[in-house]
Symmetry: C2
Subunit: 288 residues, 2 copies
């Protein structure tokens, strides 16, 4: 995972150069957030999925960088005072704290826009139909029917009484869709048939849910120092989470069960699917 | 122009449906801003450019809707309190005034994301290479090397002393690049060779500059009621504009000269280029 992260970091560093222009503060902010580390889970999923289908690493890396740009933009915007109002992210001041709100908004917009530019470039894949597939599916996963809709739902959820079905839907939109894209991108790059893509979607569905429950557990149990971002915010805001509804114990066993289930979807791929099966376990066992 | 606007409005209405979900406030905000009227200049440019090269109207309309989504998102974000802090847009309360800041940020993000989804769809053009070209060029025009960079520069310009060269660059980034894309999209859809695309780029360059000078003149001379948005803001902020540097008279004659020059680039297209040549005149004579 560290190896994939290193390669993606290198590409992000090249894709977001620091240019000597009056508005270079924008590039500084984009680089600050994009290069701030983080697990690079989504890039790793893209890389592993692509490796299963013999996709050239240079292609997979570009799709990986694109989804990390989208993920980074979403963190920048979600942290804004008008949204979650967070001061800390990946152990450092959030983008609007380090720079200012206007710059943070524009840095997010820029990363979002550039992600699609990266995918549209012939370097990402020789077949333009594949590039269009990547773009269409990513726009769906990141847009109002996916991540943006999920964040809106999340903001409104503070005033709602959510049951487990609603929380599951919220998670699917807010984080699940982008994770699902990351899992499927390799199969798109490898021009795999629908039944293969469905297997990866099923894996991603369970993985995403497990990931969110693990996130809720970290927010409830972890320390700010350990997790690298503000914790305990959900309870403070009186927000329903998997943990608040299921309780710590059931949430923990649910996450583990989902991780097992996720891994099972990839058994058909044999040895090639091993790393992604391991990811499922990692996701629920991680401490940050 | 009204005819093109009507058709684009119809398509935008279909592309941004109101869906019955807990987060429907997001769709309401997207629709509120996207359907708020406006001149629909960019869609008109796309439609006219496409008509010159016999592109199917259904294809041109989708590219037109995409660029209007991008333009609308940029207005929503630019109006935010952290940016230009505007209360009025197209004669109505700005998105964050009508809804709230978080919803406005997400509505902008959603429109930006969806624009690329619209372009990636086979309905926009049968050839995926054309769709990738549209996406790559739009991402460039709207991203940090274009519109986002221009807005960042504009925010920082309040503390700078800009000369005419710097203001011209600022305009090119902030509004020129997206107008240029609108002028070129028809030629991309019509698979035209580089020399044709260059003619349209040259036209767009002069048109964009004329457009911005006209905008500065409206900000200096127009009434809020007439223009439909807050006016006099530039002078208030002590911001250098074409008008503050050139003076009213020279700014007016400069805009007219640029409009003439823009029209000249299209003379090679004969009768087919007439409407776009008329646009150049309209842009400097408009009162809103």
């Amino acid at each position: 995972m560290a190896e994939a992260a290193g390669k993606v970091n290198e590409l992000l560093n090249a894709l977001i150069p620091r240019i000597d222009v009056p508005e270079n503060r924008l590039y500084d902010a984009m680089r600050y957030s994009a290069m701030a580390g983080g697990k690079r889970l989504r890039p790793f999923l893209v890389m592993q999925g692509a490796a299963m289908f013999n996709v050239a690493e240079s292609c997979a890396l570009r799709a990986a960088a694109a989804v990390e740009m989208i993920h980074t933009y979403s963190l920048i915007h979600d942290d804004l005072p008008a949204m979650d109002n967070s001061d800390l992210r990946r152990g450092k001041p959030t983008c609007h704290k380090q720079f200012d709100e206007a710059t943070a908004i524009l840095a997010g917009d820029s990363l979002l826009t550039q992600a699609f530019g990266v995918l549209a470039d012939p370097k990402t894949h020789g077949d333009p139909q594949v590039r269009c597939d990547l773009i269409a599916t990513l726009a769906h996963s990141a847009g109002p029917l996916g991540m943006c809709g999920g964040q809106q739902f999340d903001l409104m959820a503070e005033k709602m009484k959510l049951d487990i079905g609603a929380i599951t839907r919220l998670q699917r939109l807010k984080t699940g869709e982008l994770i699902a894209w990351s899992c499927e991108a390799g199969a798109i790059l490898g021009k795999q048939p629908p039944e293969i893509r469905h297997k990866l979607q099923a894996y991603a569905h369970d993985l995403g849910l497990a990931f969110q429950i693990a996130d809720d557990l970290l927010d409830a149990e972890g320390s700010e120092e350990e997790v690298g971002k503000s914790v305990g915010r959900d309870a403070e805001a009186g927000k329903a989470t998997f943990v608040s509804i299921l309780g710590l114990e059931r949430a923990r066993s649910q996450a583990a069960a989902l991780a097992d289930q996720a891994a099972k979807h990839l058994e058909v791929f044999g040895e090639k699917g091993k790393l992604l099966r391991d990811v499922a376990r990692f996701v629920v066992e991680r401490r940050t």
